[in-house]
Amino acid sequence: MKMKTAPSNKQGFSLIEILVFVSVFSVALVALIGSASYSALILSNLRYKTYATRYSEELAEWLSFQRNYQGYSVIEAKQGNSYCFNDSSIDVDNWPSAGACTGFTLNDFYKRQAVIEASGTKNKITITTSYQFLNTEKQSSIVIYFNPYSL
């Protein structure tokens, strides 16, 4: 009497095959989703930074206007102070009172301030627009120099 042949193990996938497939697939999926979300984060940050740069440039333009309009002495008199420009509309000669910003109130998201300091015979102004992104503070800065001689 012939013995029955043992059932072949070729009839389905083995456990090992399934495990290998699932692990390769999940590694690929996790890598894909990870890089996609990282790229999304960088893109959103880039967008915020573009707006922040615009705000900084706007203030830099206004400060050089002040230097021409009110004269160098007005800027010089403000040396050693920080000024907060969280108001989104800019006025002809409406300087805020000295002091650093207290919150991110420019457009409810940004904080824009200028630090005026002496640098040799020149006036160095550091304009910084910062914002909070993922609980860290990011910023876009511009440094401009004014000198006492007329241009």
Partner: protein, 173 residues
């Protein structure tokens, strides 16, 4: 030996899982591409806005001797616009200036006008928003311009991007 393939149930489960995973993957990639296009448009918008504001600032600084909205009104063709800023030229006392009409920003002089923002036939159409648009003569030597440029996407899939510019024009005298 009994050779069996997949049962109907197994195929249904596979298709269901693939059907769940694929839309999620496509959704992620789709929104990523959208974000990328929007950020790219914002960058190009800033390029355009920076170019135009620098152009106005530098031209006015170099060529204007006074703000002359009333004196120059009859000398240039403004196309019925009510938002304009006109200047008198330093060298030949002709008139030139800028005006906004129909969401477009024009540079104008006594010869004719030229579109600065809002040309339709470019590959990147943008326009001037009516929100916060002002061109103000404060006195003979001081003027203020503020404008917002926005992209005009052809599909509702992209949100319009906008960027605001405001600056004072001061003429030394």
């Amino acid at each position: 030996m009994k050779r069996r393939g997949f049962t109907l149930i197994e195929m249904m489960i596979t298709v269901a899982i693939v059907g769940l995973v694929l839309p999620v993957l496509f959704g992620i990639i789709f929104s990523l591409v959208r974000l990328q296009v929007q950020v790219n448009q914002l960058q190009r918008l800033k390029e355009t806005g920076d170019y135009v504001s620098n152009q106005i600032l530098n031209t006015v600084r170099q060529e204007a001797i006074s703000v002359a909205n009333e004196e120059c009104f009859d000398k240039v063709e403004l196309g019925g616009s009510t938002t304009y800023l006109l200047f008198e030229n330093k060298t030949d006392t002709t008139c030139f200036g800028y005006y906004v009409n129909d969401s477009k920003l024009y540079a104008v002089d006594e010869v004719g006008s030229k579109t600065l923002v809002g040309e339709d036939d470019t590959d990147f159409p943008v326009e001037i928003s009516s929100d916060g648009l002002t061109m103000t003569e404060i006195n003979d030597y001081l003027a203020k311009i503020s404008f917002t440029i926005v992209t005009t996407p052809e599909t509702s899939f992209l949100k319009p991007q906008s960027l605001s510019y405001q600056f004072y024009l001061y003429l030394r005298h």
